[in-house]
């Protein structure tokens, strides 16, 4: 059926064009970070919006994830008499995987949807067109500050998430499993230092744990801005953009996490 193949070809072209536009937006947003004028006030405002206002949700998820991780692993490790290594397990899991991924997913849900809704509303109420007609590049004014803020704040949130998670794990270890607190923290440090250092002083685990949230921050902000500024269809369109942002950025975080882990393991080892 030629009509069907034609439709499929059109749909494929459309998807490819969207992917091209997505990366084009990312490229422009990053390039504009080095071109005047710099919207420093907007950047600070977005850092507050993305970072400071997400702190509560990240603290909660990190704390409870660390606790449940210690609890679950203690059951399994008791069978092997390895409960003394809970600190190593919790810290490795939090720093390498759970910290970045959970912080990313939380920020995607809270901030990504907010950015998409805000820019989507600006699109449907012609505010983005107004920026254009006032001689301002909307990408520079709206997208670049959000992308930069996410690139800066998501890694910071991840570090906090990691620490709170490991702290939650220490509470469960000492109160419910019987691992002394001092010993728990010593095993945490052994895990962090045991995998070696990059540039002599940066623990390898930290590199893994910080490269990922940096990438996730970019994914969240660019996905949200892309769907936001391309919103059509009034308020219903704003809702769709918000949903698409959360779904796509969550999927991208999980998929990119796998490939990044592969890459980092092959580059850094262990």
């Amino acid at each position: 059926m030629p009509a069907l193949t034609e439709r499929l070809a059109d749909a494929s072209k459309q998807k490819l064009r969207s992917v091209q536009e997505y990366f084009s937006l990312a490229g422009k947003a990053l390039r504009f970070a080095f071109v005047r004028p710099f919207y420093a006030q907007d950047l600070v405002q977005q850092m507050d919006e993305i970072g400071v206002k997400s702190l509560g949700i990240v603290l909660l998820t990190g704390f409870f994830t660390g606790m449940v991780l210690a609890l679950q692993s203690s059951v399994q490790m008791r069978a092997f008499g390895a409960t003394m290594y809970i600190g190593r397990l919790v810290s490795a899991s939090m720093i390498r995987e759970l910290g970045p991924v959970l912080a990313g997913l939380m920020v995607a849900g809270r901030v990504g949807s907010g950015i998409a809704a805000q820019l989507g509303s600006m699109r449907v109420t012609e505010q983005i067109d107004a920026l254009n007609t006032l001689g301002t590049d909307p990408i520079k004014k709206l997208v670049t500050p959000r992308v930069l803020a996410a690139l800066i704040m998501v890694p910071i949130l991840t570090i906090i998430n990691d620490f709170v998670g490991i702290f939650g794990g220490s509470l469960i270890s000492s109160l419910m499993v019987g691992v002394p607190t001092g010993y728990y923290w010593r095993t945490v440090w052994e895990q962090i230092a045991g995998d070696g250092f990059v540039l002599r002083f940066i623990p390898t685990d930290f590199v893994q744990g910080l490269v990922k949230p940096f990438v996730f921050g970019g994914i969240i902000a660019i996905t949200a801005c892309y769907f936001g500024i391309n919103t059509t269809g009034g308020t219903e369109g704003v809702g769709q953009s918000t949903t698409r942002t959360v779904v796509l950025s969550s999927i991208l975080i999980l998929v990119v996490d796998y490939f990044l882990t592969q890459l980092l393991l092959s580059v850094l080892g262990s």
């Binding site: 004028p37 109420t125 012609e126 505010q127 067109d129 107004a130 254009n132 001689g135």
Partner: protein, 319 residues
């Protein structure tokens, strides 16, 4: 929501000739009026829209005012020029469109919905590029400009949107100050002075509205803030996309008068997309009528009102 602080004179001023008369006066009364007012008054009997428009034109001091404020050689300079423009997306949008605006003119674009009127504004702003033909500003073709050059060109234009498109997270002051902060080196005091001046120009009380958010204003006030923002940078060109749509008759009159005031006092070249024929006939120096992607008429309101073209007659509501 706050009260509209329009000049009280606007509220009390008698309405101009009605566009349509749904309640004709008794014949005897009309005859009496004719006797009292003479021949011209009898012509003002608004039995049709075209007749009403012609009557209204007779009330507007258009010709004298233009000869005084816009010397012929001054007006002969084309500030905006679309030359045989073609544009298509999935389907043709504009075909062989040629229209020009000379310095100080107000060109009104009218036509049915979806005929490409707003598209012409986007071409002038260089938000769109024609497939064929030229769009010139001050004689310079803007179709080949880079994105950055286009942004620079737009700084010399002001645009008023149908929805006003004010930045809803900013106060009125920040909205009007935005282009000044972006494109000028003015200090804070100078910016505040300029914002006050522009808000006063559009008949808004700066002290009352500057700190308010757009959501706290009425529709007419938002439009006026939109005009103030558009003219903040003292542009040579003002573009209006249906500036009176969705407004009550009083606010419509206020916006129309503001557009005329801008033209009269600041010699701004304007292009107005409008469905409000009565406003169009009040403010336009020339009217372009679009039908099926083409300009089917481009001339003065007087020529339009007296045209025997069937489409124009239908468009204006019959002869």
């Amino acid at each position: 929501m706050i009260d509209d602080p329009r000049d009280p004179r606007e509220r009390t001023s008698p309405p101009t000739t009605p566009v349509d008369s749904s309640t004709p006066a008794p014949t005897d009364d009309r005859a009496s009026d004719r006797r009292q007012e003479g021949r011209r008054a009898s012509e003002r009997r608004p039995t049709t829209i075209r007749r009403a428009i012609r009557d209204e034109l007779a009330d507007e001091p258009t010709d004298e005012y233009y000869s005084e404020t816009h010397p012929q050689e001054h007006r002969a300079v084309p500030v905006i020029e679309l030359d045989h423009v073609y544009l298509a997306f999935d389907r043709p949008i504009l075909e062989n469109v040629s229209v020009e605006a000379r310095k100080g003119e107000t060109i009104c674009l009218v036509g049915e919905s979806g005929t490409g009127k707003s598209t012409i504004l986007k071409l002038i702003l260089r938000l769109l590029v024609p497939d064929r033909g030229k769009v010139c500003i001050h004689g310079e073709d803007i179709t080949d400009l880079t994105f950055e050059e286009a942004l620079e060109t737009r700084q010399h234009m002001g645009m008023v949107f149908q929805s006003a498109a004010l930045f809803d997270s900013m106060s009125v002051f920040e909205n009007v100050a935005y282009p000044l902060r972006e494109h000028t080196e003015l200090d804070d005091d100078e910016i505040e002075q300029r914002v006050r001046e522009k808000l006063a120009f559009v008949d808004l009380d700066p002290d009352q509205v500057m700190g308010q958010l757009p959501s706290q204003l009425s529709g007419g006030m938002r439009k006026r803030v939109g005009i103030a923002r558009g003219m903040a940078n003292n542009p040579e060109i003002m573009l209006y996309d249906e500036p009176t749509s969705g407004l009550d008759p009083l606010s419509t009159g206020t916006i129309t008068r503001l557009i005329m005031k801008l033209q009269r006092e600041l010699d701004v070249t304007s292009v107005v997309v409008s469905h409000d024929i009565r406003s169009v006939f009040r403010m336009a120096t020339r009217v372009a009528v679009l039908n099926e992607r083409r300009i089917v008429f481009f001339g003065t309101p007087e020529e339009m009102a007296s045209s025997d073209d069937r489409y124009l007659r239908d468009f204006l509501g019959g002869s």
